[in-house]
Structure formats: structure tokens, C-alpha cells
Subunit: 393 residues, 4 copies
Amino acid sequence: MAPRVGAWFIGARGSLATTATVGLFALARGAAAPTGLTTANDEFADVPLVALDDIVVGGHDIYEVPLAAKAASLAAGGMFSDALVEAVRADLDRTDDDLRLIDLSGPTQQDHIDRMAADIADFRDRHGLSTVVVVDVSSTEPLPADHPAFHSEEALRDALADPTQRVLPASAVAAAAAIQAGAALAAFTPSTSLNLPVLRARAEAAGIAFAGQDGKTGETLLRTVLAPMFTARNLKVRSWAGTNLLGGGDGATLADPEAVRSKLVSKNRGLHSLVGDDVVAPLHIDNVPDLGDVKTAWDHISAVGFLGSRVTLQTTWSAYDSTLAAPLVLDLVRVLALASAAGQSGAIAELGCFFKDPWGSDTHAFADQTAAYVAWVQRTGVLVRLAEEVSAG
Amino acid sequence: MAPRVGAWFIGARGSLATTATVGLFALARGAAAPTGLTTANDEFADVPLVALDDIVVGGHDIYEVPLAAKAASLAAGGMFSDALVEAVRADLDRTDDDLRLIDLSGPTQQDHIDRMAADIADFRDRHGLSTVVVVDVSSTEPLPADHPAFHSEEALRDALADPTQRVLPASAVAAAAAIQAGAALAAFTPSTSLNLPVLRARAEAAGIAFAGQDGKTGETLLRTVLAPMFTARNLKVRSWAGTNLLGGGDGATLADPEAVRSKLVSKNRGLHSLVGDDVVAPLHIDNVPDLGDVKTAWDHISAVGFLGSRVTLQTTWSAYDSTLAAPLVLDLVRVLALASAAGQSGAIAELGCFFKDPWGSDTHAFADQTAAYVAWVQRTGVLVRLAEEVSAG
Amino acid sequence: MAPRVGAWFIGARGSLATTATVGLFALARGAAAPTGLTTANDEFADVPLVALDDIVVGGHDIYEVPLAAKAASLAAGGMFSDALVEAVRADLDRTDDDLRLIDLSGPTQQDHIDRMAADIADFRDRHGLSTVVVVDVSSTEPLPADHPAFHSEEALRDALADPTQRVLPASAVAAAAAIQAGAALAAFTPSTSLNLPVLRARAEAAGIAFAGQDGKTGETLLRTVLAPMFTARNLKVRSWAGTNLLGGGDGATLADPEAVRSKLVSKNRGLHSLVGDDVVAPLHIDNVPDLGDVKTAWDHISAVGFLGSRVTLQTTWSAYDSTLAAPLVLDLVRVLALASAAGQSGAIAELGCFFKDPWGSDTHAFADQTAAYVAWVQRTGVLVRLAEEVSAG
Amino acid sequence: MAPRVGAWFIGARGSLATTATVGLFALARGAAAPTGLTTANDEFADVPLVALDDIVVGGHDIYEVPLAAKAASLAAGGMFSDALVEAVRADLDRTDDDLRLIDLSGPTQQDHIDRMAADIADFRDRHGLSTVVVVDVSSTEPLPADHPAFHSEEALRDALADPTQRVLPASAVAAAAAIQAGAALAAFTPSTSLNLPVLRARAEAAGIAFAGQDGKTGETLLRTVLAPMFTARNLKVRSWAGTNLLGGGDGATLADPEAVRSKLVSKNRGLHSLVGDDVVAPLHIDNVPDLGDVKTAWDHISAVGFLGSRVTLQTTWSAYDSTLAAPLVLDLVRVLALASAAGQSGAIAELGCFFKDPWGSDTHAFADQTAAYVAWVQRTGVLVRLAEEVSAG
């Protein structure tokens, strides 16, 4: 029997996780085509990725809305059809039983971590899962001020045990829980998570595979596709201005200047890495409620070419952010499960194509990232097959 | 003393060749930066490419306007500054002496080919050039009807010797002359040229290096950069509509439905190769005189993503086509001279990044083409250096 | 009791008529707001327009698909919600009884006209309607070759009575029927209709009110809004290029070069009238099936300003054409009924704001048209009220 | 002999005033066509506007760069040609003699006002001008905090006489000087100027004609052209997002958040007036130095139409802001001189078409403003002619 894999979402009842969950069940039931899943591309046909109907969904959230109700509200906004929700309603209802409220009743942050880690371990045991991949898809949080506990295991332990302190932001609590539960981890938001040196060290010591950070879905994807064209042709980019319009929950979250700061920093990092630090790159995110979950992004790129001539490019990208991101979340579950099966640990740098700010890599050019990703998946797939054959021996 | 290389332009007094010539002299004199030249990128710093001030310009044209006058008219249209024309006026005037009218006074097409080949050989001898690279940058010509002489060396010889026949279109006459003169050849237009099997065979038999076809400068470049993004992310492109607006000489030429046909076919070939033959791809080229030599291209791309959601991308690209193309023409002179120095012959498939319709390759994805190009130039450079050392040794 | 008015659609089962019919019933039942209806604007609050629930729908078509089925297919394409169709399903089913197949079984075209006129008269009698307004919303037809019968009543009578001739195109047959039935007429397409001098004379002799031609809904509306800005500011427009992408039935119809010719001529007439005949104005309509009924139009406008400086404007308009047009169709029914009540006949020039090619007017500037329209409706409303009071007196 | 008129620019050596001055002389000498001047439109052919070669230029500035040098730097940026600067160099050099440094050496602000008023009066006397029109085209200044002296003539007098206070911002000092000199006044920036009630009262008491505020040249012009289209068609605008990119001096000034605040408020006022206060309208101005004086503005408009369907419009406007504004500055000189000749005083509400935030009017729809403007100029022209005839009689 094929090993089953768990997908554990932090923010499991949010737009993104719900879209991923609806899509997973729709694909498993044959009610939708795997469009948008990179792991469904032909080049991976021979890779022993977990089958979609062998993925079990669980997760944490701070809200209690039933998945089917959340899915229905997304359908009302045009994300997918009502019929699709109906087709997977039973799966969603069953999955509600595997979702847990984040329990902050314990006096210390260590208690919170213990509770979350226990939830994950219990999920693994109940379903007999070979691997659990935790994917953080919760809302972007503000950057925390620096703290000694971020840099020392001992200071961290003391702080976590101190009922008067709440030193870790939510994304780091979740990451600590994943490490403690021995789960693989993907950070799909620009929040703190494993950016804390102390947690990065824990993750490496625990031998888990992890990947991040901040899903590269729309405008930033486009930028890391286009920027290498200018450099290959030796055209000097002088400015790259961008405006993002979106409504929905993300629009409201990102209207908060503090929350948006980490997002903007993350969005521009790849751009500067590709076309230079002196490129003028104003960037805005505006909350425009009537646009709902469709994000519209306008970029204006100005470059200098041969003999000082001007080259101008404008792009307008328009898409549901959640349906761009959801298949990537499923991809990450599959490939981190593959990495785990191959015994890999630490930051998987070859997954950089999924992220605005890739851990373990400073390559941002999307074509280069894609080539590295494809080669790694194929290579890792061969290793896993070999190991299976040896073990089946 | 470093070997000098000849750049022989078919259409030497046109906008593109004039821009390339002005730019070459401006670079050689330090009056402009090599922006837009791929061969000026850092990764080629160690490759023994011919120095820009070791390139001598000659060529054929059917017009007699002095280069400096043509350059002044381009400057008036904003392509580059009057000051730049002044800075290289003496070079342009001197170059006029190396340009030849295409002489069609002979009774047969073989006479025309002989005359052109003699012009090229004379140019090489007078300047003591190690290599001449012929670059066809003349106006796009209509596709000729098929003819037996296109497929048989014997039939071709008979036709060329028959004073009542004019079987070859102008681009093929020029290509035959380049072959006869032993020059390398780059086809920067979508005209017939070495697409005739009989001429392709001649070129291969003659051992010349050649590359083509149809310079990939603006909209098509952008398309072959963007299309792989959609496939990498498993987004299904359904339609890719395009409209090109331009004035200038190209605008007028391409307003001719017959001439534009070969252009449109060439432009869409890469797109269909990358995103599938069933993509709906209407494409227009409109002559809009007031826009002058600035080409503005609008593309509208519609794709389907996860769970049937819609992804839409619009791009508006605006640039002087000639200043995009001119540095590539200089690049082709340098890299075909390098290939010749390395003893390579036949279609150089690794130069596909320069062309809409690459000879010897069916790779259209620009990032893949770029990687192949960079590796080939570096590799060939090493071979040339080794050969030089052996020969010096 | 308020007088009831009939809306008789030529093409009653097409996308536009179906959308107008669904919308009319939705508004009458309070299931939708009157967004998009100009007659619902505040400035008309005191005008005695027919109430929406006093409009009865009938019409001709060559297809037999039930209205509710057609409405459901439009809802599937996203035009409006399934719930809206359900809300008015009973109304649609009842309306099916008032729709007639176009009967071409008679031997002569006069027989066809008689049959259609009888259908309209019967509809008026059965429902006790004070007025019937015929609105031609059928597919665009090719321009017919000129014919003597187009210019002489006598020649027309002979031709219509001759069983070997089919001299009138379908839109003119419908117009002749409307005239014969004494109905008011609005021509919402660019087809022949009352452009034939002989029919125009008949319409005037019959004393019917009529208005046309070719609904101004999207790109052309935008153009007649923008062009006066350039002239008011004395900016010289040099080129105005346009590309329209659409799928659905209209996309397929307009992919026919013959059918599109009348459309393109009609679209550009207003533009040239506003900014001059020497403006370069290439215009394309492309059939892009995956876009469905959403029309996307890109315009690129280039103008010269002070001291020869360049002004460039690009617009991208995206909307369901049918939902732009449908409320205008309802407006036309209401205001032509008002005109009839006021005893007006002939071309109502003040309705030019509805049309690309306004009958009786050469004003294309939308603001001027709007001012004339508003004043005319208010003035005519006062006349009708006065007449009612006198008659009630 | 025709009366001559003075144009007195506050900020006379800035980009806008220099462009207007170069253009005025180029037009007077027949070296350029009057494109962009509304007063050159045919409908004003019979109006006794001052001839362009009867306008004398003077002004204040805080800089001392010679006009010809400033003009040359604008030509280098592409605003107009070097040849044009040469054609008017003698005029520019002569005009330098009529420009005055703003003299702040006096101990009180009343001294500064006296000095500036004396400069203006001296200019009028030296040149024998019938009228002087002061046009404030200086940089946008931050909004001042409110002050009692803004509301009481007595408090203002005390404050101006107090050497320890600098209660008026620079634009108000200039306005006070214009009033004191009996000059007409146009406020082309969003700075304080006659917005102070106490100065407005002074201007009215002095009987000068004045008009403002904040030139409507690009994006805002477009918005007040487009917004009435949506309301005429009863389409409900939900959001109108805008991004402006520009370099040059204006880009740097507007990068200052304080300075930009008055600009943004002014830009959005008309929009909200036209489409409602609840429209979501994020608006950004970014300093992008490499774009120089070309302003590029992208707007994204989302509206709801019939049956809840979506209408989306994007516009990209690109133009030299100074060449859009400069002809309007010349227009204002001509029409305020006309108003003065007709004995009109106070806010000339019919000049609202020139301004983002029109004094004396709450009409923002550009077509309505244009109609009022044209009628007023024609009417005023008739009055001036009549007066001339009476006086000549």
C-alpha cells in the first residue's frame, strides 16, 4: 500500500488553504484537471510523488468557520463554481474533524508549542501517515523587533518558559511546533518563521526538510521572468514601478502599513538582485474592496538600450491570487514529502522557484530556478525509487 | 597584430545597418557605452572576440544615400543624437567608399551573384580581413512560389545561367554570393535566403558558418520569455493576441500584405511551439506613420489556471526597433567570426537566441537559448585561444 | 390605467435581447437595480416614461431555443447569476408565447413583410398596447450591393411582388414590416434597415418615430468621449489604432470579413468626424473564443501638442457587451414610446447618444449628445404631461 | 496701436514658465504652430484676444539661471528642439532683463509684498502695458497651518508689519503683491494663494479678475472627461486607482510627502465630486528620475453595470507635463486680459476647464466646463468689441 502523506495548514480555514483543500479533493475525485500544479507536468511522470488521493488534510486556525461554508463564500466571489463545492462537500465536512483551533490557554509559549506539536503528531498517528508537511499559509504578520532569544537556544528556552513573555510571533510558534513534531515545513508567507537563527538551527538539528519563503505567484513571478531578459540583452533597467490592487481579506491585511512592510521588502528583493540595487522601484499595494480576490498588478519598466535609446514595457497582470497559490501549496506538500522520503534535510534550495525570497539560494531568475527544480525532483525521484527497490529487495 | 574582421551588410544604407554602423564607430571611439550588446556582458570578458575597432564595415544596397545623410535623418527621428552623428561623420564618409550598389546589369542571375561575390572578396582583400560576415538586414520580401531549382543543384545552375529567368529572390542571390565568397552569413530578416534546400546544401558544402533567421528583438522576444512561465506553472494558455504599431520604413514595408505574411508566420512559429498549436493567436502589424521608428506592441494573453480560474496578462512594449536590432547585428558579426576562427561550419544552432525562427534548433524559450548561447561562446572562445596558443607555440 | 407598451425584438432569442428581457423582468420584480439604464437617472424622475412592469416583450427570431434555456447559457458564461434566471423563469416561459419564428414560406418578399407586420399587429391587439417599439438586435449582416429598388417606391413594389427576387436584406424586411405595422423602430445594429432611401421615405410617410444606428456601447463610446478632449485642448490627433477581442456569438459573426466591414465603417465614422479624416485609424476585430462574451478593446492614441511634443494615451476597456447594450435597448423602448405619445415622427436626432452612426445628426461628441438627449427627454415629457392633462381636462 | 499685455510669471525661470516663454516667442516668430493653445481654436477667431506678439514676459524667481540656459537644458531632455531655442535666443536674453529676483531683504513680509508689487508696476510702466496678468507657476508648497491672520484684514496687517512673523506662505505673498499692483491673477499650482479668505476679500475689493486653481493638464483632465461617461450611462464607479510616475523637478518636489498632500487632495476632489464620495480612490505620485519630464499615469477604473456585471477601464497617459501646461498658461494670460478689458472682476468661474479645483464653480465635468468657457470667451469678446466701438465712436 502506498504511503499516505499529511498536509497540515497553518491558517487552514483561510482563502488559500480552503482553495487548496477544495482543489485537492476535486482532483482526487476527478472533478477538475490538475491545471496549475507544476507536479502534474509531463516531465515528472516517472517521479514517485504521493498520489493526490493519498494526501490527508489537517491544520490549525484561529477561526472556526466550517470549510464548506468558507468554500461557499469563495465560490460566491467567483473563485470556483458552486458545483465544485458540492462535489467535495463531504470531504470538506470530514476534514473539519482534522482541523484544530490554536490553543493559547497554556501559561507559556512553550505550552502553546507543545499543544500544536501534539496536534500534528496526533494527526500523523491517527491517519498512519508516513510524513506530515506543515505549510504556513496564514496572514502576513508585522516584522518583530529583534530579541536576544532569537539568537540563542538557551535564551529562547528561558523566554518560552516564562509566563510573562510572548517573545515569538505566531509564525515562529508554528514553526517551532512543526520542528518539535518532526514535520517538514514550507513557509508560504513573508512572516518571521525560520528566519530566526535559533529556529533555523533547531530545524537543522531536528533533520527536517524545509523550504521558503513567501509564495511567488503573480507580479513577482512575472518580474523574475522578465528581468533576466533585460540583463541577457544588456539593456540597463533604470526603473521598475509597480502598483497592486486587490480586495478580499488580503487587501485588508495589506492595507496595514506594518504588515505590508515585510511584504514589500520581500517583493523587491528579487528585483534588486536581478537588475541592480540602483534601480528605482516604487511599489504600492492598495486595498480596493470591489475587486474582491482578483489581484490586478501594473508594472512600468524603463530601460536604456543601444546608443541611449529608451525601452519601455508595461504589464498588467490580473488573476485570483489564491488559485495561483493553491496548486503551489499542493506541489510543496508533494515535493517536501519526496525530499523527506529521500532522507533530505535542511533548506531545500532547489525549491526556490516557489518563493519570492528563497531560503538557501540567491538565484531569483525564474528560468534558472525552474531548471534546478525540475532536475532536483527528477534526481530525487530516482533516489527514492532506488531506495524502495533496495528495501523491497 | 589582431586579425581584423569585415561586417558586410546587405541593405547597408537602411535604418538598421546605418544604426549598427553609427553605433560601431561610436563604441570604437568611446563615444557610447556598449549597452545592448550581448557580447559586452561580463560573462564573455575572457572570450577572444574581435575588438569593435577591428571591425571594418562594407556592404551592398540598392540606394545611394550617403551614410551620414541617412544617419542624420535617423537622428532627426530621435533614434540617437545629432552629436553622435557628428562624432562619427568621418568614419561614415570613409565607409561610403566600401559600399557597393547591387549591380543587376549582367544578363543572368549568375552574373549578379558573381558581381556581388567579387565585391565581397575585393573588400576582404583590400582590408586584409581574416573573415567577412555577411549580414542580411534588407527589407522583408514576399515568399516566392516553389520552383524545381530550389531543390536541385543542377536545376539551379541551369536557371541561373538562363537570361530569361529570375528564379531566385534577392535574399537568395545575396546568400549565394556570400557562399561563393566564402563569407559567414547571418539572415536577420524572414526572407527566403538559405531556406532554399539547394542553397543550404551549397552553404554546407562550402563550409561556411551561418545563422538565422529573422531577428528576435521586441514583441517576439517578450513572448518567448513569457510563454515558458506559463508552461512551467502548468497554466494553459488559450489565446495570445497581438497588435504591432510602427511607422518608418518598416511600417510601410509591412503594410504590404504579401510582405507581411512571411513576417507573421515567423513571429507566431515560436509561440505555437511553446504554448501549443491550438492557442488562438491573431496578430496584426499596422503602419502608423506618426509613430516613426518606435514600435509599440500590445499583447493580450488569456490562460486558465487552477480549478478553471482565469489569468490575464497584457503587455505594452515600446522601443526603437533599430536600436534593439543593431547591437545584435554587431554581436552576430563577432560570434560568427569567432565560429569561423574555431573552424565551425554549418548552421550554428546555439545562436538561436538571436532569431524568431532559429536555424538548426527548435528551442524557442529565451532562457534556454541564452544558456546555450553563453555556454557555446565560452566554449568556442576556449577552443580559439587553445588554437592560437598551439599556433603561436 | 397606465398605457402598456410593447417591446418587439428582431433577434428576440439572441444574447442581447435575452439579456434585455431577463433584465426587464428582474427590474420589474425588484430583483435587480436599474444600473445601466439611462432612463433611471435622477434627471428623468419627473418624465412620464412607461413603467418597466408595463412593458410587454415579443419578437421575431429564426431560432427556437426557449428564452429560459438561452438565459441559462448566458448565466453559465458569467453574464448574470443562475439565481436571476430562476427569479424570472416564469416570465421568460410566458414570453416564449409572444415570440414568432420568421416565416419565409410565402413566395414573395412582400409576403414575408405581410407576415411579420401581422405578427406585430396581433401582438399589439392581444395585449392592448398603446405603442409597439420594434428594436432590431439581430446579427450584423453584410452590406448589400446597390439596387434600383432601393431608390424608388415603384421599383421596390415590383421587386417585392416578384417571386424570383429577394432584393431586401433581412434587416430591411424587418424595417418594412415595422413601418407597415405602424410601430416605432430602433436599429441597434449596423445593418441596412432604414438606410435605404425608399424605406426611409416610407417610414416618414407612415409617421412613425425611429432612431438608429448601431448601438454605441464600448470602445466607440469611449472614443467619442475622449476625442472631444483632444480637440478642446487643440491637441492634434495623428493616429488612433484599435483592437477588439471577443468570443461568443458576436466574435464568430464578426470574424466574417464581409459582416465586419459594415461594423468597422460604422465604428470609425464618428472618430473621423471628431478628429479629422487624415487620422490614421487601423481597427481590428478578432474572434477569441476563450474570452466568451467579454469584449476587451485596446486603443492607442498618439497626438501632437505644444511645440511638437508627443501625447500618448492607451485605453483598455473590458466588459460584457450584452450587459452594456441591454439597458440601452430598454431605454430606447421607453423613449421611443414617449416620442410616439408626444406625436413625434421621423428620425429622432436627439437619441444620437445611443448610436455609433446617428440618424439625423452629425454630432458624435458624447457629452454634446448627452446634453441634447437629456433636454429632449425632459421637454418631451412636459409635452406628454400637458397633453394628458388637456385630454383628462 | 493694439494694447500690449504683460505676462508676469511667479517662478519665471522654472520648467513651465520657460516652456511657455520659449513657446510664446516661437509662435510670435512663426517658428511653431499654436497646437495646444485653446485660444487658437477656430471658434475664437473673432474674439479680440491679445495677439501673441503683443505679450511681454516678465516675472519673479528665486533662481538666477538665464532663460536660454534653462531652455537649453529642457531641450536636452527632449521637451523641444535645440533649433527652437536658437530661434528665440535673442528674445530670451532680452526677457532676462525683465525678470526679478524675489527680494526678501526687507524686515517684514509687507516689505516683501511692496517690493514685488513695485516690480510688477514698474514692468507695466516701462512697457506701457494695458494689463498685467500674474501667473503663479512656482513649485507646489505644503499647506500651512491655519492662522487668525488668514481670516481678518486687521490681523493680517498686524502680522505683515511684524518683523518677527512670516505668516504668509510664498504663494500668498505673491498673490498679495499682484492684488496690490492691480494685476489679474491666475493660480496654476495647488498652493495657498487666494484660498486665504482675507486675500480673497482683498482681491475682490481691488476689483481684479482672478482664476484658479491647479492646472488640469493630464491624468485629472482625463478623469474629468471619463467620469461623466459613467454617470451618463448610469454605470456605478466603485474604485478609481491611480499611479503617476515622473522625474524632473516636479518628481523631486512631489516626492516630499508634505508637498504632495495638497496635490493629492486637489487631484481627487473633482473625481469624488463626479462619481461620489464612496468611490475607493488610492492615488500615488512616484519620483522616477529616469523618466525626466515625461509623466506617465496609469488609472484603473472598476464599475458595476446592468445586472451587476463588471466594467473595467485602464488608461495609460504619457506626456510632457510642461508642454501640456505651457499653452494653458498662455491661454490664461489672454483670457484674463480679455476679462480685464471687459471690466470683469472676481473669480472667473467660466475658466474652470483650466483647473483641477476651480474657484467659483463646483462643475468638474470637462465637457460642461468647455461649453461654459467657449460661450464666455465669445460673449466677453463681443462686449469688448462693442466697448471699443463705443469708445472709438
